[in-house]
């Protein structure tokens, strides 16, 4: 599937951070991604939308090699090239742990570790071998500030992460992902388990975060994609149907299929 031409209009000097090139992916015998291509622009929010089972989460989870955790999953062709170093993340010689050090992730359901708030955020630093107390303190504080959680938890850092509310837990998971200064953060339907107020705060946070980091978000909520993303890709049955600047995708989609989905006639 070729990338839509309307794209260039909205680029305005945005740099490529990653490029998905004709990616094929299989779950066992099931062909889940079919020659998917899309660009990911630096310091922008890119949203993936589409009906359930269209492959949007599958594509997202290729970025940090999450599929490597389960047997039977197979990257079958193409790749994801990360810039500026121009390496294919999916190449056999690339260590998935190195990839995950650079590309972090926030999950659908908040999944804080059974540890204190402090240790939850420090986790991604500790796995990198950081143990200097002052440095950890600084990084944890700035990550919590970055996730707009510091004011609420600064005096209860020793409490269990699970004691926080759902929205706070999700912001804790964002702080955890931020702490190690990743280049890209992947969000897999980050607000689907949250109430509208918590959702609004996460959305606001995501738009602020793009100052620091490139964001790729999967969402089943089209309004959310329209509100927070700069670029949107519409996927269906494992194919990238249309990719473009968000406004263009939502106001003047090039493809009939995209228009049908956006206007609610389908899906």
């Amino acid at each position: 599937m070729q990338i839509q031409t309307g794209l260039e209009a909205g680029v305005e000097g945005a740099l490529l951070k990653a490029d998905v090139r004709e990616l094929d992916f299989y779950y066992g015998a099931f062909h889940a991604l079919k020659r998917v291509s899309m660009p990911i622009y630096d310091h922008k929010v890119t949203a993936l939308i589409g009906p359930s089972g269209c492959g949007k989460s599958t594509l997202l989870r290729c970025f940090n090699r999450m599929h490597d955790l389960y047997p039977g999953n197979r990257y079958a062709g193409g790749g994801i090239v990360l810039f500026p170093d121009d390496t294919n993340l999916l190449a056999p010689g690339v260590d998935p742990i190195e990839v995950r050090m650079r590309i972090s992730m926030v999950f659908q359901k908040p999944n804080p570790f059974p540890k204190s708030i402090y240790e939850n955020v420090a986790y991604s630093l500790r796995v990198r071998g950081m143990s200097n107390k002052n440095e950890l303190d600084d990084r944890v504080e700035s990550a919590l500030k970055g996730a707009a959680l510091w004011n609420e938890v600064s005096n209860r850092l020793k409490e269990l992460g699970a004691n926080l509310s759902g929205g706070q837990q999700q912001r804790l998971c964002i702080a955890r992902a931020l702490a190690s200064d990743p280049e890209i953060i992947l969000f897999d339907e980050p607000t689907s388990a949250l109430d509208p107020i918590a959702t609004a705060s996460i959305e606001e946070l995501i738009t602020e975060l793009k100052e620091k980091v490139t964001i790729l978000i999967v969402t089943h909520n089209m309004q959310q994609a329209a509100r927070i993303s700069d670029y949107t890709g519409y996927m269906y049955l494992g194919e990238m149907v249309e990719f473009g600047v968000t406004d263009q995708i939502f106001i003047k989609p090039q493809k009939k299929a995209t228009e049908d989905y956006i206007t609610g006639r389908f899906g």
């Binding site: 999450m66 742990i97 995950r100 999950f107 570790f113 059974p114 986790y123 991604s124 796995v127 992902a177």
Partner: protein, 317 residues
């Protein structure tokens, strides 16, 4: 079965509806009641047996403590109920129980935990499906076999390393007891780890953690309550184990915490007396009830500790 099968063929009386069929007189309900009563009886039976055991132990121990003051029982440093100069210091038997259990747990807890971590976090599906039945088989070996294994196989090997080791000793019995307990610790710990939701592991991997970091820093803490119960079960098994100690540890009451000496434990003493020719009702015979009560209180204490640990560290995922 017959009730429901005959239902449709029964001519329903006029005006009958749901309410008639739900009435307590319906034959279905009588059957339900019978089944309910049977289920209750089965449940009540186990409670009754437990109460009966405690009753017998307390009643017979009472007879013992009418002759022997509790302070002697707790603080005397000799256990010689069969001698003319009889002493009844439970400490002597307790030291044997604690020493052999300590040795066993030094084997079972580290090995069992490592096996659990390996099986749950590292082993592939096939390895786990093969290894787990073998592991559980280890727990199904009769303890008398373990006892002879300790006495005739392990002790001679240990004597080569440490020539002064007596033929009967707590060390070899404790080591073999540890091997016996490994499956309990490993199997229950592994179940607890596998119950940790995949989302927590994914969270850890997504932060760039290795398998070992994920296993030690996320999965194990999340499974703490289950692992603690596994340990407690292992301790209870060790404290209550009889045959291995009776066969391989010598049955000589000996106030020592040195595992290279022979010793009697509470359980092996009970076997010795129960099989011996002491007349029923004699004070020597009554000692086994006092010893049994001590054992019951110990395991009860461990069970309560386990219950508390489960509540304290239970994770709500």
């Amino acid at each position: 079965m017959t009730a429901s099968a005959s239902m449709p063929s029964d001519p329903l009386p006029l005006g009958s509806g749901i309410s008639d069929r739900l009435s307590k007189k319906a034959s279905r309900h009588i059957k339900e009641r019978i089944i309910e009563a049977l289920l209750f009886a089965a449940a009540a039976f186990s409670v009754f047996v437990t109460i009966a055991i405690v009753y017998v132990l307390v009643k017979e121990s009472w007879v013992f403590f009418e002759t022997v003051p509790l302070s002697d029982f707790l603080f005397d440093t000799q256990w010689t109920p069969l001698f003319d100069d009889a002493h009844y210091g439970i400490m002597v038997l307790l030291s044997g129980t604690l020493t052999s259990s300590g040795v066993a747990l030094l084997v079972a807890i580290p090995l069992g935990t490592i096996i659990a971590i390996y099986l749950s976090e590292f082993a592939g599906f096939k390895v786990r499906e093969i290894a787990k039945p073998f592991l559980e088989l280890l727990g199904g070996v009769p303890t008398i076999v373990y006892g002879y294994f300790a006495l005739t196989f392990l002790t001679p090997i240990l004597q080569k390393i440490y020539p002064d080791l007596p033929g009967f000793n707590l060390l070899s019995a404790g080591l073999v007891m540890g091997i016996m307990i490994i499956p309990y610790v490993a199997s229950l710990s592994e179940d607890a780890m596998r119950a940790v939701p995949m989302s927590l592991r994914e969270g850890s991997y997504a932060m760039g953690a290795t398998r070992l970091q994920t296993a030690l820093w996320v999965v194990t803490p999340a499974a703490t309550s289950g692992i603690a119960s596994a340990y407690i079960l292992g301790i209870s098994r060790a404290v209550g184990e009889t045959m291995i100690l009776a066969v391989a540890a010598g049955m000589q009451p000996n106030l020592t915490f040195n595992p290279t000496e022979p010793g009697a434990t509470i359980t092996s003493y009970i076997v010795q007396v129960a099989l011996g020719d002491l007349p029923h009702g004699s004070i020597g015979y009554q000692t086994i009830f006092a010893a049994g009560l001590t054992l019951l209180l110990m395991t009860l204490a461990f069970n309560l500790l386990g219950y508390w640990l489960r509540k304290r560290f239970r994770e709500v995922y």
